[in-house]
Symmetry: C2
Subunit: 168 residues, 2 copies
DNA sequence: CCTACATAGTTCAACTTTCAAGAATGAGTC
DNA sequence: GACTCATTCTTGAAAGTTGAACTATGTAGG
């Protein structure tokens, strides 16, 4: 059932495409693992959690609504709830009620959280630089940026509209 | 302690580098989530597990030693043990003792496993194609391949030698 | 006000991943 | 053989993630 009514042979990947796809998977998993370990070791949290602190640090009053933070970090609200609970236990984030909407919560970066970022940002930037920017030519950096923007665009509004492009 | 003796101001990312880095994180997480959901929905397993079946399907006799499979899939042996246990419960993989090394185990793809792949490969390829290759120009595909190969190289021998490049 | 429905965030259970042991076998040396 | 150390794979507990169900509040229409 499902898509079995499609008689056409699927368009397999060419050899070149397969090579690129594997290189992509290979490199992205290695890099994510590398950063995860670096941050787990130095800062005591996974990469995603670190990203949450960064987002908060750049927000006005160093705080964001949960939904907003989830959206900008590309994670589910459920995952964010767990993550913030953990970061709160660490003392790096505090929750605050939203006055204008009693359902709402702000996640706010504490001074301790700022300090954790201050202490770990150099090491993290160094890791990113060493893994990526020190190895690519300026042209490649530009190409990578363009490519990643295209890919993100294709997945952004995500599932909605993906099958119905005329509704965009 | 650690790297606090370093008095030099860390080399922060330029604006352009930051944009590229964010685009990279953004696109890679969206894509991985997308494929995970596609495969979870259609094949009942996460992307990594699907990758294990693919690796096995391409190996001689459709089987690989655990360590070999872990290495080629870039995951720890521990993680692989758990994963294979789960796939075995599904009936898609079977374990076999290695005659020449009594510590060793083969993971072998079952006929059922082959069938699962056969059924899901078209959908998966379509997802990959739609997310990546249908959106990039041939030049971009080539550029992406080159870039990813460079990044992988830098992380490949991984932690060993990373801090001691003169030992390579 | 009341109903119906939408939105914000949390919680629970099932599942996956990680990390630190641990059990068994292999390999080298005396 | 006995000792030591390395390698292979597994296990168990803790941490993280997911998807669905749930609570509470907001919003629109009668």
């Amino acid at each position: 059932m499902g898509n079995m009514g499609d008689m056409t042979e699927p368009r397999w990947l060419t050899d070149e495409e397969q090579r690129v796809w594997r290189a992509y998977l290979h490199a992205t998993t290695l890099l994510e693992d590398h950063l995860d370990r670096q941050l787990q070791r130095d800062a005591g949290m996974p990469h995603v959690y670190y990203g949450l602190l960064v987002q908060l640090s750049q927000a006005p009053r160093r705080r964001l609504r949960m939904t907003e933070l989830a959206r900008s970090a590309k994670i589910t609200r459920s995952r964010l709830s767990h993550a913030i609970a953990r970061l709160e236990k660490n003392g790096w984030v505090r929750r605050e009620d939203c006055p204008s909407d009693k359902r709402g919560q702000f996640a706010q970066l504490t001074d301790e959280g700022v300090e954790v970022l201050r202490r770990n940002a150099p090491g993290h930037v160094a890791a990113v630089r060493q893994a990526m920017f020190d190895r690519l030519s300026p042209e490649q950096v530009e190409q990578l940026g363009a490519i990643m923007r295209v890919l993100a665009e294709g997945l952004e509004p995500a599932d909605a509209g993906a099958d119905l492009p005329w509704l965009r």
